[in-house]
Symmetry: C2
């Protein structure tokens, strides 16, 4: 008998019929002899409806109260799911994040999990219940205020509970079949990845693949939780995220240990349209100027991704510094930089939100020095100019013009031999929360 | 500076605009220097919507999960109300029943309050916040499951909090102007009562006046909490329920200590259409038979109201026993009685749901022996036949045909001199929850 943590997102529990379908799936696992803990998001668009309601009374609602409000969403979905399971003749009990022992800091709206003490969940399991837990929420240490975990919070709840309960697997149900070698909307021949390491999945997540948020993968890696990303609309195996072999009991004939993918040089091609580029033109090339620029940006809590500093023009003693950042932080960053222009003595700030980022991820590239050269050649042949480059042990990222990003992704996918012969027309979507 | 507990029902917080109006009212109290604790119900019909959702997945949802689901309703209204107050520049924090220290037993759907430990509420007040508390809900002692208090639960939450916090007054905001001498829909000349004792209000509530539920008045009497029932749509004083004088600081020029009403013999005329009458015909008139009949009914948790046993017919040694009970329990009671017919040896059971109950309430009647005679005369003159009678120190109740109830109420109201010269056309409605 295994312990399975299953997470169902908002689209999987969007209405009564969807909830009944999810209940059947959970009951099938109970009948197969497994202990099951379920983590649910709020139903469909209900979170947006609650945010709309808040906006009607306050343009900037207090963060504590917004979290209190939003947690009503999972409270509804979890209770209704427990009822649907009971209606199939099985015992189920729902628990809020607080009841499930999800202890967080007090950063309302984006709280971090500090500890998970799932005593009541273990008790419910011991009594033969399916435990249904509200995703996305917790309770602050000491002050005991209700918090939400921010984007991807329900996935993180599921992985954190799986870690605390020492579950055999954390299944993330979503509206796609798993993690793909590229976005199938852009690359029709993209293939589902059977198994991927934590490190590669981390790079995929950081590079724009929206299937799992970074923090969720980080949590899974830290605690060694095997994550199985799969479709809530099909019984097929999805993508396993783990550094270990897939547990034999969950392996099906149609799904091997993913050796084919694991031995491939490149696991996948990710892309990201959500970044912008800022170039600070004419920075005096003397020590400390760059540090002060980035300190200013950091003090506004803006995450910088790629950085390039041009070689200084000897004649002028000036250099240009470019970096990428989330497009949503663009205006704030430009404003902050303009404020220190005279102080630093640079010429001006250029803002460019027409960029795209392509990332090639693969643990195999460590031992294949030609990987970078292959990418440059493929992009060159496709007529795509590279504006910025950054690399890690298992990733190469390049910035291109936004309108050339799709053809860049296709060219890279083909160059690394990732195209399948039967292209699967599956949509590669986001995870909600 | 006083501490005021204010309860707003679902119709007072039905939408964003209503919530903003309530927020303004609360802020006005803060500006006047009072500490304010607010108890809210779920918005408008949202509880019904949640029940509908539950029904879609399960015809008989588990009680624990139904309570978990329904408590989402107040969670939404309280957080949004806190936001609306913050938007007016005042500090407010919302608290669930559990956070507010409303400790109950574990009778899901109709939990009883065991204790109230409002440490967090007191702390919020000490910090200058308005504390918003979810009505209708609590947490079970020991097992820490979420519970709901059942009908009138939010009023009871408000009174219980007022008692625990030693508040100066518990204001119950509703959609009518207060407690009336009779239902103004039936008696156009019915008058608002300025002040009424706990005992009289208890009899009113027990006799079908829907403005406050019985348990709420019982709680207020036990802890001596002054309750002020008033309209959320007007600034006028409503009805004070207290055995003490109205506190001077809350008294307005237009509102005296209610001496006029207090010295009246009769406070009001209540009516109830929700009861039915069961008559057990041909019961052997030997000791123990009646006891066994009522024990059977009690074992099904059916509350009996009025009881009449006919004088035994000497020739047959048989008697008839009639009692009234909530119409909703009628079918169950008849079934339970039929099951013991052969055992007890009675003839048959008659069920009659075409009855109405009229009650005349007044502490003054203790010292006026003519009150009962006046009622009988008034009803007789109005052509209303009396089928059953029961009395207490401060109440006389009679059962009539349902279709004669309205004219009976009007006749009694006039007979006791309660008619005002300017009939106020105010609707005398229910309180929701």
């Amino acid at each position: 008998m295994s312990l399975i943590v299953q997470k169902f997102g908002g689209s999987s529990v969007a209405d009564a019929d969807s909830i009944k379908r999810v209940a059947k799936r959970i009951v099938a696992n109970r009948k197969a002899g497994h202990d099951v803990v379920v983590v649910v998001s709020a139903m469909g668009d209900s979170t947006d409806d609650l945010i709309d309601l808040a906006q009607q009374v306050s343009p900037v609602p207090p963060a504590r109260e917004l979290d209190m409000l939003l947690t009503a969403g999972e409270r509804i979905s979890m209770a209704v799911l427990a009822m649907a399971i009971a209606n199939l003749g099985h015992h189920a009990q729902s628990f809020t994040g607080s009841q499930a022992g999800v202890i967080t800091d007090e950063s309302f709206g984006r709280a971090r999990i500090i500890d998970v003490t799932p005593g009541r969940i273990q008790e419910a399991l011991d009594q033969g219940n399916v435990a249904i837990v509200a995703g996305f929420q917790g309770v602050s240490q000491g002050t005991k205020n209700i918090t939400t975990l921010g984007r991807g919070g329900s996935d993180t709840t599921a992985v954190a509970l799986a870690a605390a309960l020492k579950a055999d697997v954390c299944e993330i149900y979503t509206d796609v079949d798993g993690v793909f070698t590229a976005d199938p909307r852009i690359v029709p021949g993209a293939r589902k990845i059977d198994k991927i390491s934590y490190a590669e999945m981390l790079e995929m997540a950081a590079s724009g693949a929206k299937i799992l948020v970074l923090r969720c993968v980080e949590y899974a890696r830290r605690y060694g939780v095997p994550v199985h990303v799969r479709s809530s609309f099909s019984p097929h195996q999805g993508t396993w995220v783990t550094d270990e072999p897939i547990p034999e009991e969950f392996l099906t004939a149609a799904h091997d240990q993913g050796e084919t993918m694991e031995s491939a040089i490149i696991s996948g091609v990710a892309h990201d349209r959500s970044e912008a580029k800022i170039t600070i033109v004419g920075v005096p090339d003397v020590p400390g100027k760059a540090a002060r620029i980035f300190k200013t940006v950091a003090s506004h809590e803006i995450d910088i991704d790629m950085i390039v500093q041009n070689i200084s023009a000897a004649a002028t003693g000036l250099t240009d510094i470019s970096f990428t950042l989330p497009m949503t932080d663009g205006a704030r960053a430009v404003e902050a930089l303009e404020a220190i222009r005279d102080d630093i003595g640079f010429n001006h700030v250029e803002y460019d939100d027409q960029i795209g980022k392509l990332s090639v991820i693969g643990a195999g590239m460590r031992s294949h020095p030609g990987v970078t050269a292959d990418l440059f050649e493929a992009l060159s042949n496709a007529g795509v100019n590279i504006e910025m480059i950054s690399t890690s042990e298992i990733r190469i990222s390049v910035v291109t013009r936004a309108e050339l990003l799709d053809q860049a992704v296709r060219a890279a996918h083909t160059a690394y031999g990732l195209d399948s012969e039967l292209g699967e027309a599956v949509v590669y979507g986001g995870t909600g929360r």
